[in-house]
Amino acid sequence: MSPAAARRSAAPQLAAAALVLIGLVAVPWLFSTFQTITVCYGLVFAIAALGYNLLLGYTGLLSFGHSAYFGMGAYTVALLVKYMEWTSMEAFVVAGVLGAGAVAALFGIVCVRYTRIFFGILTLALSQVLWSLALKLFWVTGGTDGLRVPTPKLFFSLLTPAEDKLEFLAYRYYYYVLILFVAATAVMWLIVHSPFGKALQAIRDNETRAEFVGVQVRRYRWVAFVVSGAFTGLAGALWVPLNGLTTPDIVYWPFSGRIVFFVVLGGFRTFWGPIVGAMAYNYLETYAVGYTVYWQLVLGIVFVLIVLTLPQGLAGTAEGLLRRMRRPAPAT
């Protein structure tokens, strides 16, 4: 695509993104505290899903162990509170990203040697090791009780926690998360449209040929793995103050399944799919939990149905429909 053509095709996408952003900015004014916090969770999960999809959608690697990086982000924050008594959210964000990135860098060395199912189960196995540590080293991690995290100070202590915790989360913290969500989305957009991003897609499509045009496949996969882990770690760090507590549950495998779910629900062949999926999942879960304790069953059934009938996911299917509407008679 020529630069001019690229600008032309990106324009409607950017316009749509701007509209959605205006809507997100208005959320705390339009909706209740509870609903704002629900959206806030959705934004946090969307960051994790974006990171995850760099591997699945763009590099062709199916990880079943991203709970490790989300959990690492969360536990890094919780441990800094416990042992260092830090309170600055900026410090938490940086530490969470670095902590998760470091673990991803280590696990990645082993995982990127393999693809397909071997990659999938290695990631799952390593995340289970981390989970068993979070559970067994209870004198450090609090075991099943987890670790509490008070609301932090935002923007270099310019904004301190308000009297009412819910008020704080639904306004100040919501906007804090929104800003980081927009930044993370912009950075990921840049990464997947960079020459590096093209190299990842080449690896996804054809590993052998990628090697034969001079892309060092394993090294690029490793970098993608670390970036993916760091994004998911950022989500984990942002999630802790929202939840107020971190337990080994977020390192356990069903949480990895949840991240896979976001991306499959939204569609992993599009850039926006993971974001749509994370937000949609968040609503699905909020209401499914309200109706039944067997929400994992409900979600599992939805998941299976999507894999069977909507392989492009919500965003991919919508994109396909839009394209067909714009061009009613497709050229053959």
Partner: protein, 291 residues
């Protein structure tokens, strides 16, 4: 001397159950090139059904007949497999393999909650059977009779499965399909049927594994994923798709686990992964990989 023998028997006991789970996983992969993420949960399903059936029959049947009731668990898992392959996996064979993995992952989510829905959050037990066999003393050790029975079942299953795959007509079709699906199809083998049979057989083995351990370990939520991960370690060491590999891998993991429980309980899992990682570095396709 007696503790050494006990340790060896414990290792063989682990190895037996691991072989039952891992051989099914490996068989399905060998034939269909699918790793069934829900395999561990079919093992758990077999355990739950067996415990439930034994619980129902315990008051009316003589204890020796309960061994036959255990088989209900294995058959139930096989039935689930026979149902799942044609309905949920077959439509995906033409798609990129991510979708097959995702599908089995969805089944993993569903099965986990189905078991919670049907049998509740509390463990089920079938200890009537293990109690009935009591302990047996020989060569200076006293060892639970039921554990010896499990070892025997593992050995019989290994020999039986080997004979089945290498000596029967069906085994020939299985191996032909696994080596070249198109060629097998061109030679008149009904690949669709082989697939559903292989998948069912794989699930039967998983269910049998679950049914056979339930009198000792009980059926608990989360047992499926633990089993899946251990079975994966086994097949990584032995070579995915190889029956001999599953047997040798199960023995290695069985012995390491016994040592681990005695000497390094906290890092037992980590040591197993270390072994798997070393094998992967030295022989990326496992010890018994086919070229």
């Amino acid at each position: 001397m007696d503790t050494l023998l006990t340790q060896i028997l414990n290792s063989l006991f682990y190895a037996s159950t691991l072989f039952l789970i891992a051989s099914g996983l490996s068989l399905v992969y060998g034939v269909m090139r699918i790793v069934n993420m829900a395999h561990g949960n079919l093992y758990a399903f077999g355990a739950y059904v067996a415990a439930w059936a034994v619980g129902l029959a315990a008051s009316t049947l003589h204890w020796s007949l309960l061994f036959i009731v255990l088989l209900v668990g294995a058959l139930a898992a096989a039935a689930v497999g026979a149902l799942l392959e044609p309905t949920l996996l077959r439509p995906l064979y033409r798609r990129p393999e991510e979708y097959q993995l995702l599908m089995t992952f969805g089944l993993l989510l569903i099965l986990e909650d189905v078991m919670r829905l049907v049998w509740g959050p509390h463990p089920l037990t079938a200890s009537a059977l293990s109690d009935a066999l009591g302990s047996i003393s020989f060569m200076g050790v006293t060892y639970p009779g039921y554990n010896l029975f499990v070892i025997a079942v593992g050995v019989v299953a290994a020999v039986g499965l080997g004979a089945f795959v290498y000596r029967t007509r069906f085994g020939v079709m299985l191996r032909a399909t696994s080596q070249n699906m198109r060629m097998a199809s061109a030679l008149g083998i009904d690949v669709k049927r082989v697939y559903v049979q292989a998948f069912t057989l794989g699930c039967l083995m998983a269910g049998l594994g679950g049914a056979i351990v339930v009198p000792i370990q009980g059926a608990v939520l989360g047992m499926g994923i633990d089993a899946l991960i251990l079975a994966f370690v086994v097949v990584v060491i032995g070579g995915l798709g190889s029956l001999e590999g599953a047997a040798v891998g199960a023995l290695i993991v069985g012995f390491v686990r016994t040592l681990g429980i005695t000497y390094f309980a906290e890092v037992e899992l980590a040591v197993l992964y270390l072994i798997a990682a070393v094998v992967l570095f030295v022989r990326p396709a496992g010890l018994f990989a086919r070229a």
